[in-house]
């Protein structure tokens, strides 16, 4: 495609898609919709993160890890009861 073809395509595109007016604006105030969206976001359940897990769950997991390292023979017993 040479420069002339490129200019022709640009011209055709401009004719097919008229430019948006410089003063285009929403037909309504969008702030209430933004506030609703923020409220929905605040009410949505959050993904579990490191901080969201209670400390006693981490303590239990740590204790279990220490126990199984100290007494490896108990691992099959734990696995059996899982």
């Amino acid at each position: 495609m040479n420069a002339h073809d490129e200019d022709r395509m640009k011209e055709l595109l401009k004719e097919a898609l008229p430019p948006v007016a410089a003063d285009a604006e929403p037909e309504r105030d969008l702030w209430p919709a933004v506030l609703r969206r923020l409220d929905e976001d605040a009410g949505a359940p959050r993904r579990a993160t490191f901080q969201s897990v209670p400390w006693f769950d981490w303590a239990l997991l740590g204790g279990l890890a220490v126990f199984t390292v100290s007494f490896p023979a108990t691992i099959p017993v734990f696995l059996y009861y899982l």
Binding site: L12, V20, P26, L30, W31
Partner: protein, 185 residues
Amino acid sequence: MPDGSSLVTSGVLHCFREGDLDAFEALFREHQRPVFGWILRMVRNAAAAEELTVETFWRIHRARERFQPDRPFAPWARRIATRAALDWLRAQRPEVELTAEMAGALPSASTGDPGIAAEIRRKTALAFARLPPSLRAAAVLAVVEEQPHREIAAALGITVGAVKLRVFRALRLLRKDLEQQGITP
């Protein structure tokens, strides 16, 4: 979209970053219109542009901690708006995405050349809607809306050279599509 002539003080930008809702509203009031206009230029659908403006400001609020108050707000907002608009364009089916009716219904700054047949304009609009969204965004902003390449590059997160390349590729693919329909531009 205002860059240097912002009415919002740097104090407001700092408060926004800290999560102050009044500061966020002040930014919204100042930037709502340019953000809407930018999105409308990309998606060319007023109802979708309104929804995407809400989506953009929601994303802006979520990402406020990453905003650097010593930098201008408008280019940052424009980049987030561009991502939201591209996500929308990617989710649309080409055959319903951009019709000649939709193009004609947009608030237009010019009436166009009456010498070009309506059928060719319609086919061009539909062929353009079939292009990949990333090419379409660059072409519509650069060719139709005549936005500065530097601004387009910043909004798309690419270089000015890449913008020019995308525009060229878009025009070449458009020409090929029209030729396949028996139209010689």
